[in-house]
Amino acid sequence: MFHLLNRPRADADALADAIVALKERVRLCSRCFAITEDDPCTTCSDVRRNAAMICVVAEAKDVFAIERTSAYDGRYHVLGGLISPMDGIGPSQLRVRELVDRVSAESPTEIIVATNPNAEGEATALYLSRLLAPSGVNVTRLAYGLPIGGDLDYADENTLARAIEGRRTL
């Protein structure tokens, strides 16, 4: 911001134009609701991606976070938030109906719910798993774990407790 204030007016105008142009070009994918320039977005239209998996996230920015890992090659579905009755947000305020429709139309084999490990993220995941149960699709949830490269004795008790609960057979 300070940097910008020190620049000539022309630079600021160019930036403003770029923002306007971006806003005109960028939209939400009509299938997965990720931010995109083309509709459907590249993850939805790329035939090399695994169409049998849909990763459900709360916000469009979460798609970028998971894409950066390169560990996932399925499709996405952006809910647009998490269920929170206290804030007046129920399933009908989110893109839940759209997810259910996609599951019947696209018949994926697995739905990965990648919401935050907090009260609302967990409730939303449990809700989706109940809602999708009749469709027979396998609904999974990201694991709780210890940060990689961290020391066990530096992890806080709560992270450690959840990691113990989520342990797996070797």
Partner: protein, 356 residues
């Protein structure tokens, strides 16, 4: 454990204070509205990160200033520890931050480094008052004893809040969502009930022994935990779905359980004399202290705000005698009691603390 040094900056009516408590009993004496309870409140915040009396955290910051700080050095079983709690006014309310040994930590890692047992006049309603008081008594001790308990409690309360909002009609009714909240509640509810049950078992033995000794009669005080539900949480939640929908409120879960106090089998709250009720409260507090010490191998710090004036001399003496083994205690009073024995007395006038 023992507080060795406490520093305040712009906390309540203290602009700046450098206070070196003594070990053993510290008595804060002075007229009303000078800063006795404020100092006690600061000491409690070093252990619990929360005020035992402020309704809004902005009250804690000295009027006309932006940032309050409580810093302290304590000697605990594991050695020396430095604690700091900072409260800052922001346009969106207040923001609190915590440090342990100079490094910044979250609330869950700050809580319980130092441990306190506080006793304020409102605690005298512990027996006669509503169940919420008794639940917060259990939560106060258990959250200091276990960060995992604190996490489960915070999560549980959040989810119950969401579930209540759903039942109240804050969003369209949704049975699947209600069931999802029940799914989410099972784990923390079961953990809270197990932790409270174990704590009350230990508390009951200590309370009954102290009560009997003080009353000097053959009356038997029974302290039992009345969990909600008594049995499998998942099954009880499932069984209550219809009635919760009908009543539009949550009916099952440890946010509705209680601690039952009986003398010779009859309810102390309903039928006990005021004397019996007060003795039971004091016994519960001493027992809380004993259980915390037994569990951690370290004596908690005792904070007594104005309670002696509420008690007759005999009970007050009995109480102090019972916690005689304390390492450090702080007590506020407007008049010096007679039989204090070896105590460091501090007079507090207009936020200035001087050793008498």
């Amino acid at each position: 454990m023992r507080l060795e040094h406490v520093r305040l900056a712009d906390f309540r009516n203290y602009e700046s204070l450098d206070f070196p408590p003594a070990s053993g009993l510290n008595v804060f004496v002075g007229p009303n509205a000078q800063g006795k309870s404020n100092l006690l409140e600061a000491l409690a915040m070093l252990a619990t990160g929360k005020s035992f009396r402020a309704h809004r955290e902005s009250e804690l910051i000295r009027s006309g200033t932006e940032r309050a700080e409580i810093g302290g050095e304590a000697r605990i079983a594991a050695g020396e520890i430095r604690l700091r709690c900072t409260i800052v006014r922001t346009p969106a309310g207040t923001r609190k931050s915590f440090e342990v040994n100079g490094g910044s930590v979250g609330f869950a890692r700050f809580l319980g480094r130092a441990r306190v047992v506080t006793f304020v006049p409102a605690d005298l309603q512990l027996v006669s008052g509503g169940p919420a008081l008794r639940r917060s008594f259990l939560n106060g001790a258990l959250a200091q004893l276990s960060p995992v308990y604190y996490r489960d409690l915070a999560l549980y309360q959040k989810v119950v809040g969401q579930k209540s909002a759903l039942l109240r009609g804050a969003i369209a009714p949704d049975r699947d969502l209600l069931l999802a909240y029940n799914d989410e509640l099972v784990r923390p509810a079961t953990a809270l009930i197990a932790a409270r049950r174990a704590f009350v078992d230990e508390l009951a033995a200590a309370t009954a022994a102290i009560y009997g000794r003080w009353r000097g009669t053959r009356e038997r005080l029974g302290v039992t935990y009345a969990p909600n539900p008594d049995g499998d949480v998942g099954e009880a939640l499932a069984a209550a779905v219809e009635s919760e929908l009908r009543r539009r409120s949550t009916l099952v879960g440890p946010h509705r359980d209680d601690l039952r106090l009986l003398v010779d089998g009859t309810s102390l709250a309903a039928f006990g004399s005021q004397g019996q009720q007060r003795t039971a409260v004091l016994a519960l507090k001493v027992a809380e202290y004993d259980v915390m010490r037994a569990r951690t191998g370290d004596a908690p710090i005792l904070l007594l705000d104005d309670v002696l004036s509420e008690l007759d001399a005999e009970r007050a003496g009995g109480f102090l005698g019972a916690v005689e083994g304390f390492e450090q205690a702080f007590l506020t009073t407007t008049e010096l009691p007679r039989d204090l024995g070896a105590a460091a007395t501090w007079s507090i006038h207009a936020a200035t603390v001087t050793r008498c």
